[in-house]
């Protein structure tokens, strides 16, 4: 069961990763003219992703919270016994960053709600960048930890 939830958690994270990266690139490096893949990737209306990003973040977070106890019992114990301090510390950072990201969501909605407030333009860019960092960090750490020891071993 937890393995299924871990996979769904990962799939939600992939969707979230795509959405927040689209938005962050669109707001920091907007496309001025038609072009190739990268130009099209950032040539999207960023505000249109806001609600999807909030829903995906909450969903991914909740699934992560459900599979956290088995991680604590099985994976973290293994990491400590194997003295894999960098991997263990990376997850500690991931859990703190995810919580901060969750707390940022109300502000994120506030600055990205329609119609966009021009006075909050830099706050929009900053929140998109910070959430993008949190999501990328969490995704990469989760991926590496799953490679070290997934939940199949419990």
């Amino acid at each position: 069961m937890f393995t299924v939830l871990l996979i769904v958690h990962g799939l939600c994270a992939v969707a979230l990763l795509g959405a927040i990266t689209h938005q962050a690139l669109a707001v920091w490096w907007p496309a001025r003219a038609a072009g190739g893949f990268v130009t099209r990737f950032r040539g999207v209306p960023g505000a249109g992703y806001t609600n999807a990003i909030i829903v995906l973040f909450v969903l991914t977070f909740l699934l992560g919270a459900v599979i956290y106890p088995p991680y604590r019992l099985v994976v973290r114990t293994y990491l400590e016994n194997a003295r894999l301090w960098t991997a263990n510390g990376s997850f500690e950072l991931k859990e703190q960053f995810a919580a901060i990201g969750l707390g940022m969501l109300p502000f994120y909605w506030f600055v990205w709600r329609q119609p966009l407030d021009e006075a909050l333009a830099f706050s929009r860019r900053a929140t998109a960048a910070i959430l993008c960092f949190i999501v990328w960090f969490g995704f990469l750490v989760g991926h590496v930890l799953n490679n070290i020891r997934g939940l199949f071993g419990q």
């Binding site: 510390g89 950072l93 502000f107 706050s123 960092f133």
Partner: protein, 106 residues
């Protein structure tokens, strides 16, 4: 008085209270995964490890909600300080890199 105008304060307070709760281990609840049991407040491990992360989030959520409600009468003055909604979380993220450095310097 506007509910949405205190959202920057909510996010700033959440991040600040979260890092304080994590450092001082002030958890609204404690979870014991080995025996699948919950305790109110911060409690020592009973059987197997204790998990405080859920409790720190609860503490931060409660504290940020109370701070937001308390600041509602002053919400008309908040638009100019909307930047706290991302600056404080960013500083807390940087603080966590420092606070967790022990894992990476062994």
């Amino acid at each position: 008085m506007s509910f949405t105008r205190v959202l920057p304060l909510f996010s700033a307070a959440f991040a600040l209270i979260y890092v304080l709760a994590e450092q001082a281990n002030i958890a609204l609840v404690t979870y014991h995964p080995r025996i699948n049991d919950w305790d109110a407040w911060t409690q020592p491990a009973r059987s197997g490890p204790a998990m405080y992360w859920f409790g720190w989030i609860g503490t931060a959520f409660l504290g940020a909600t109370l701070a937001s409600v308390a600041s509602l009468p002053f919400s008309s003055r908040m638009k100019g300080v909307a930047w706290i909604g991302w600056v404080v979380p960013l500083l807390v993220i940087l603080a966590f890199f420092y606070l967790m450095r022990g894992f990476f310097l062994r």
